[in-house]
Symmetry: C2
């Protein structure tokens, strides 16, 4: 049996992180960072639990990954994130010079692309991986909160 | 004798924070957050010490202030920051809905305004307080590093 660790595989793990956020009453966004086929960070949004607007999944994952690596720059790292990063997280990703970012659902309102921003020139971007599932968990969350 | 706690007074404290960063070999940016004439956060850039690109003075100050207040939103808070915030920090300030941001020196290359961004509509912005001193400490830092 051959295990294939492709983008969908890791995005499914990021979705599992989003589900943890959902259970906590947090906006369900999850994130996984992979370096050389090893997971070095798994995070989810914790802004309510930590009472901290900066506690987005991506910011936590960047700090955690750098700590794991022992260096500020996330070379040879891929971030899987269920929702398109916001301006803050795009700015953080820019500074990290991360190699690759794989995005689930777009965020038309608060995503960095709608703000006219770009990630670092060194960063490869893949969008729309498990897009429907990543979108549905958010839609379900906001529907229940109304 | 009357003590006047005006914008210059607090920016001078932010500059003292920038000096602490300078001594540590960090890009010298300092920050102070004030709520009802009380200082609730003093931070400086720590990206090298913490091996973390997200450890800008502003991000630390937002987390710390929210922790102090016990709420995510920095209503009735003023941030004094020696350098114009970058994209990441502007995004974090946006989410915080901070009442007022007082900026020392502009950052023509990496500042949020050059990226075409704006802070939250609720946020009052004052620029150019002790601009020359805030600029000089950075200029001196980079001159020595060359």
């Amino acid at each position: 049996m051959t295990m294939v660790f492709d983008d969908e595989y890791y995005m499914r793990l990021a979705l599992a992180e989003a589900e943890k956020a959902y259970e906590l009453g947090e906006i369900p966004v999850g994130c996984v960072v992979v370096a050389q086929d090893r997971i070095i960070a798994k995070t989810h949004n914790l802004t309510e639990q930590l009472i901290d607007v900066t506690a987005h999944a991506e910011v936590q994952a960047i700090s955690s990954s750098a700590n794991h690596i022992g260096g500020k720059y996330l070379k040879n790292c891929t971030m899987y994130i269920t929702l398109e990063p916001c301006v803050m997280c795009a700015g953080a990703l820019y500074w990290s010079q991360i190699s690759k970012v794989v995005i689930g659902a777009p965020d038309e309102k608060r995503g960095y692309t709608s703000a006219g921003l770009q990630l670092h020139p060194k960063t490869e971007i893949v969008s729309g991986v498990l897009q429907e599932e990543c979108r549905m968990i958010l839609q379900d969350f906001f529907k229940k909160r109304r």
